[in-house]
Amino acid sequence: MTRRLSVFNVTALVLGFAFLYLPILLLVVFSFNASRLVTVWGGFSTQWYVALFRNEALMEAAWVTLRIALLSAALSTVLGTLAALALTRYGRFPGRTLFTGMVYAPMVMPEVITGLSLLLFFVAIGLDRGFLTITLAHTTLTMCFVTVVVQARLMTFDRSLEEAAMDLGAPPLRTFFSVTLPLISPSIVAGFLLAFTLSMDDLVIASFNAGPGATTLPIKIYSQVRLGLSPEVNAASAILIGIVAVGVVTATLLSKRSALRSRRSAH
């Protein structure tokens, strides 16, 4: 079923994508601006990138952010996958309603509430704010997103493959690791990437739970932005945008290759 798009539809798409992408493009262009004034073009220069890499406080924060994101994404991928399995494969276990509520609540709960409540909890159990508290907070927030992504895949999953393995005498755990897991792995990877991005990006929850021991990049950027626009932040932003672009292109190429492979093996 192919249709020609009407002029109105094409206009909507062009305007919509221009709105979404122009601000990001402008930011990248102006990160190569020689002028200190953020909105006046003064020639091409990479000086802000040099300044950025010499800015030790920013680099340190970037490193902390990356470590927190990797650790919390790994934890939340495991927890989220378990939760997705519980919701799709365990029927009506006791307390299921509360469980479902707790899985969906952090996704819609305003971040200021999640951040504040976790902080008060950490204070109540006497845990010092810093690297560990941000990691735990991010794991709690992002595991729900992993659950939703993996659950969607498990719902459209052909159970007969698992049943076949069981009929051929594979024990449940073996079935899970050799049949189920490979089939749902793309959604687990997607969930991990989503959790990683959310953690790298979070300002509000991290602000509540950061301590003298650890500051993340968004907190640093936020405090710089409050003081006014800074060309170094432009450069940092452009790098982050570049990392995302490379990641997306790589993921696309990988998924295309695996799609081709599976099509070939089907013939």
Binding site: P110, L120, V244, V248
Partner: protein, 301 residues
Amino acid sequence: MIVRSFPKKLASALVPAVPYLWLGLLFLVPFLIVLKISLSDPAVAQPPYKPVFDWSDILGFFGQLDLENFETLTGDDLYLRATLSSVRIAAVSTALLLVVGFPIAYAMARAPERHRPLLVAMVILPFWTSFLIRIYAWIAILKPEGLLNQVLMSMGLVAEPLTVLNTETAVFIGIVYAYLPFMVLPLYATLEKMDDTLIEAAQDLGCPPWRAFWTITVPLAMPGVIAGSLLCFIPAVGEFVIPDLLGGSETLMIGKQLWSEFFSNRDWPLASAVAILLLIILVVPIVIYRDVEARRLETRP
């Protein structure tokens, strides 16, 4: 059904138990603590706040309630104004998102099938770049000497720079920009499933296109409209970063209020009371959203 031995049963019970315990400990318990502190005396609970948390005294917990913080909230009209302004800003933003998002989602759903995955990816892609940075980009655009005013003035459309930054208009632009994927994707999902033959039948029977749109397309797209609107409205009410960076000091929002009670005034009990207030505002939309989502998941093929 295979009869399983006890250790295997235990292993299989771990699957729901581990995430259950995690969420109970790090989501439910913290929430109850907020509730407790919102009902505790500010004089006692000043930071560095050392709560004597007596886990065994759950019943006593309800015996020592103190509504003082909530009296502060209802007594000072600042909180009422912040609440009303948050709901109004979120509602207007959601309406704008529908107006902006519907044509995009509709065009995506009408596009040839082989192009659709690419279009969906293009809508999601900006979401993967930092939220803070995307809001930051708008500061450079909306400033008095920013790009928008430079363009408008060089075209001779305005004589004086427009004041957009630090106004509510900037907050609307920021929310629409940041939340657009959350509106477009649920709308696209429902519009894509729509049966074109209904429109064709209406046209064969002499129904003008705009009327076919209002009597067929819009009612059928309703689940997507509701899901998208709630998905945007709920976080928009508690939004902090956008009103703080684009709205300036003039824009009152409840999320900003909570932030300043906590970080500037260091009144933790009052901040907790504001959190509970925000949650009370959002309870109804969150419950509706949960039901809509649950139904949407059940009707999947």
